[in-house]
C-alpha cells in the first residue's frame, strides 16, 4: 500500500468501491471510506441486537407482573441492551462511520494520519463485541451497563468479567479512533484550510476525540479493577478491606459522563452540516458553535458527580457538581439557539435529512432541558434512578444521536453509495421514527415523575397505562427503524445515480465524484473559502 502517489490514474476513474474487488480487499483495506462502511455494517448489526432486547423489555412491561420473562432474564435484557447500545452502537456510531468517512474528505486529505491503526480499531472493536456477545450468551450479564460494585463484584452470578473484558477491549478501538482523528485534523489539513475554515462537523469531532482519548483509559482501569476484585475476591470497591463503592462510581462516571458527550457531540456535528446545507446559509455564529463544542468537551469532564447526588457522596461535592453541570448546559443551549437562527431567512428545503435535523433540535432541546431538572439538586433526589432519567437520556441519545445518525446517513448517502435514496419513503420513515420515539419516551417522563423506579421487572398496577403507551410507541419506533434498513439495501443497487453535489452544498466532500475515488481527490484541493461560503461559491454551485 505504500506505493508512490499516482496522479495519472484519472482516466476511467474507478471509485473507492470498484478500485479493488474481493472480500480480502475489504478486510485488509486501509481506506478510511471502506473502514467506515465496515463500521456501518457492524454498528447496524449491534443496533438491531440491542433494539431487540429493548423490544422484549417493552413487551414484558405491558403488564405489571413478570409474565413474559423471569425477573432475572429481564435484568439481563436491560443490562445487555445498555452495554450493547452504549459501547457497541452509540459511541462508535457517528464518529467511526460518518466521521471516518468524512473527516479526511472535509479537510482535503487522502486518508487519516494512521490508516493501519484505523483498520486495527475495527478489528479490536469487533473482537470486543464478540467477547461481549459471547459472555452474554454464555453466562449472561445482569449488572446493568453501569457495573456498580459491590453487586457486580460480589453478588452477581453472571459473566461479569467476560462482559467487562469485551468492553475493555472495545475501549482501545475508541482510543485509536480518537488519536487518529486528532492527529489527522492537526496535521493533514489541505493548504489554505485554517482552523476557522473547518466545517463544524470537524470541530465537533475534534472535541469528541479529545474526550475519547482522555476518558476511555479511566474506563479501562475501572473495569480491570472490577475484574481483579471479582477474580481474586479482594474488595477494591467492596467492603471487606474497607473499599468504597462510591469510589467506583466516581471513576466510572469520570468516563461515563463525558461518554455521553462522545455520543451526542458527533450528532451535533451532523446537525450543524444539515442545517447549513438545507438552509443554504452559514451556521449562525460559527465561532460560537465551534467553541461550544470544545467547551462541552472540557466542562463535560467536571460534572460527573451529578450521577451521584443520592449515592452517599459529600453534600459539598454534590454542590459543586451541580453548579458545574449548569455550566455545561450553556454551550449546549448556545448551539440550539444558533441552529434555530440559521434557518431564519434561509432557503429551507424539506428533504429527509432536514426533517431529521429539525427532529434532532426539538428532541435534544427536551432532553437537554430535562437535564436541567436532574442537575437541580433538590429535584434530582426524587427523579434520579426513575424512568425520568431513562426518558431524559433516551431523548439525548435516541432522539438526539440516532436521529442525527439517520439524518447524516441520508445526507451523505449519495456520496457514500453514488446513488440517491427514495425521498417519499424516507420522509415517511422520518415521521414514523419521530412519532414512535415521542410516544415511547414521553410517557416515561411522567412515569418517573410519578416515582416509577428504573430497572423494575414488575411494577405497581397504577403505572400500567403509561407503560402500555410506551410499548405501543416502541413498536412504531421499531418499524420506523426497519424502513431505512430495507430501502437503503434497495437503493444501493437500484436507486438513480447521484451527481457529485446533489444538495449544492459547500463542503470539500461534495467537490469530488460520488462515490469518491480511492484517494478522495484527483488533485489535492486548495481551500480559499470559509466553511458554508455560499456567497463566495455561488457560481460553482449555480446559485443566484
Amino acid at each position: 500500500m505504500s506505493t508512490l502517489a499516482t496522479p495519472v490514474r484519472a482516466a476511467a476513474t474507478p471509485n473507492y468501491l470498484t478500485s479493488e474487488r474481493g472480500i480480502l480487499s475489504w478486510l485488509l483495506t486501509t481506506d478510511h471510506k471502506r473502514i467506515a462502511l465496515l463500521y456501518v455494517f457492524s454498528v447496524t448489526a449491534f443496533f438491531f441486537i440491542g433494539g431487540f432486547f429493548a423490544l422484549l423489555m417493552r413487551l414484558e412491561l405491558v403488564t405489571p407482573e413478570t409474565d413474559l420473562v423471569s425477573p432475572h432474564t429481564y435484568n439481563e435484557l436491560f443490562s445487555m441492551h445498555g452495554i450493547i447500545m452504549v459501547w457497541f452502537f452509540l459511541i462508535p456510531s457517528i464518529p467511526n462511520t460518518l466521521g471516518n468517512f468524512l473527516i479526511p474528505m472535509m479537510i482535503g486529505a487522502k486518508d487519516l494520519a494512521f490508516p493501519k491503526l484505523n483498520l486495527a480499531s475495527w478489528y479490536v472493536f469487533m473482537l470486543g463485541g464478540m467477547v461481549t456477545l459471547w459472555a452474554m450468551f454464555r453466562g449472561g450479564i445482569d449488572t446493568g451497563w453501569t457495573f456498580y460494585t459491590p453487586f457486580s463484584t460480589v453478588y452477581s452470578q453472571t459473566y461479569v468479567t467476560g462482559a467487562a473484558l469485551g468492553v475493555f477491549i472495545s475501549g482501545f478501538a475508541s482510543i485509536m479512533t480518537g488519536l487518529n482523528f486528532i492527529a489527522t485534523i492537526h496535521r493533514l489539513r489541505a493548504p489554505g484550510l485554517t482552523w476557522f475554515r473547518l466545517p463544524l462537523f470537524v470541530w465537533s469531532h475534534y472535541a469528541t476525540s479529545v474526550i475519547l482519548v482522555l476518558a476511555t483509559p479511566v474506563l479501562a482501569v475501572v473495569l480491570s479493577m472490577v475484574a481483579v476484585e471479582r477474580i481474586f475476591q479482594v474488595g477494591i470497591f467492596s467492603t471487606p478491606l474497607g473499599g468504597d463503592p462510591v469510589l467506583f462510581q466516581h471513576l466510572f462516571w469520570f468516563y461515563s459522563h463525558p461518554a455521553v458527550y462522545i455520543m451526542v457531540l458527533p450528532g451535533m456535528a451532523v446537525v450543524s452540516e444539515l442545517v447549513a446545507a438545507y438552509s443554504r446559509r452559514p451556521v449562525f455564529g460559527y465561532t460560537f458553535v465551534a467553541f461550544a463544542s470544545i467547551a462541552i468537551a472540557v466542562i463535560g469532564f467536571l460534572v460527573w458527580g451529578h450521577h451521584m447526588f443520592v449515592a452517599g457522596q459529600s453534600v459539598y461535592s454534590a454542590l459543586y457538581f451541580s453548579l458545574l453541570s449548569y455550566m455545561v448546559a450553556v454551550p449546549s443551549a448556545i448551539k440550539v439557539f444558533n441552529w434555530t437562527a440559521t434557518v431564519y431567512k434561509g432557503s429551507v428545503s424539506w428533504e429527509t435529512p432536514m426533517l431529521y435535523a429539525i427532529g434532532f433540535i426539538g428532541l435534544f432541546t427536551i432532553g437537554g432541558m430535562t437535564g436541567l431538572f436532574l442537575a437541580a439538586l433538590g429535584i434530582d433526589v426524587h427523579v434520579t434512578d426513575t424512568y425520568f432519567v431513562i426518558a431524559h437520556f433516551h431523548y439525548i441519545m435516541v432522539g438526539g444521536t440516532v436521529m442525527a445518525y439517520l439524518g447524516g446517513i441520508h445526507y451523505w448517502w449519495p456520496k457514500i453509495s453514488g446513488k440517491m435514496y427514495p425521498e417519499g419513503l424516507s420522509k415517511l420513515s422520518a415521521l414514523t421514527v419521530f412519532l414512535g420515539f415521542n410516544l415511547t419516551f414521553f410517557p416515561q417522563f411522567v412515569l418517573g415523575y410519578l416515582g416509577m423506579p428504573r430497572r423494575y421487572a414488575a411494577y405497581p398496577a397504577e403505572f400500567q397505562y403509561l407503560h402500555i403507551l410506551s410499548t405501543a410507541g416502541a413498536t412504531i419506533l421499531g418499524a420506523g427503524y426497519l424502513m431505512p434498513l430495507c430501502y437503503f439495501f434497495w437503493a444501493w443497487r437500484h436507486a438513480p445515480e447521484a451527481p457529485p453535489n446533489p444538495w449544492r452544498a459547500t463542503g470539500l466532500e461534495w467537490q469530488t465524484p460520488s462515490p469518491p475515488p480511492k484517494h478522495n481527490f484527483e488533485v489535492t484541493p486548495v481551500v480559499t473559502h470559509n466553511a458554508y461560503d455560499y456567497e463566495g461559491m455561488k457560481e460553482e454551485l449555480g446559485l443566484d
Binding site: I175, A183, V228, G235, L251
Partner: protein, 216 residues
Amino acid sequence: MTDPSALMLREQFGTPEQQRESATFGMWIFLATEVMLFGALFTAFAVYRMKYPLGFDEGSADMNILLGSINTAVLIASSLTMALSIHAVAINKQVRGYLLLLATAALGLVFLTIKFVEYYQHYEQHKAPGISFVSDKPQAAEMQMFYVFYFVMTGFHAIHMTIGVCLVLVLALRTAAGSFRPAYHTPLEAVGLYWHFVDIVWVFLFAIFYISGLHG
C-alpha cells in the same frame, strides 16, 4: 527519488517532515491516554491512602527497598541507553544504536526479573491478597488493600514494560536490517517516548510504594 525517507512516505502525507511530526504527535497523544490510565489508579490510591494512612504506611514499610532501588536504577539506566541509541542512529552509527537497543531490552528484562523475584517474596511472606495473605498487624485489612494496589499498579506497569521490551527488540532487529537512517527513524523516537514514559510511571510507583513508608 533516492532519498530513503521518501520510500517510507505513506500516501496520505505530503512530506517526510509531516509524516514524522504526525507520528511523534500521535505518540504524545497516546501518552496522554496513558497518563489518564495510570492517573485513575493513582487517584484511587490517593483516596485510600488518605482514608487509611496507618495501614498503607505499614504495608509500605514491608517493601524490599534494596530491590526497589536497584530496579529504579536499572530502569533509569535503560532510559539512558534508549536515549543514546536514538542519538546514535541519528548521527548514522547504526551498529552502536543496535547494541544500545539490545542493552535497553536487556535492562528491561533485568527489571522484570527483579520485579518477579519481589512478587515471589511477597507470595512467600503471605502478602499476596486473594491468594494468600496473613498479617498479625492491627491494620491487616488496610495493609491488604495497600498490597492490592501495589500488585495492580506494578502489574499494569510490568505489562507496559513487557510490551516495551518486545517493541525495543523489534526495533533492534529493524535497526540491524538497516531500516533507519538519520533522516528517518521515527519508530525509534516513538518507542523511545513510550519507554521513557513507562520509566516516569515507575518513578512515581517507587515513591508511593517504597519510599512513603520507609521510615516505619
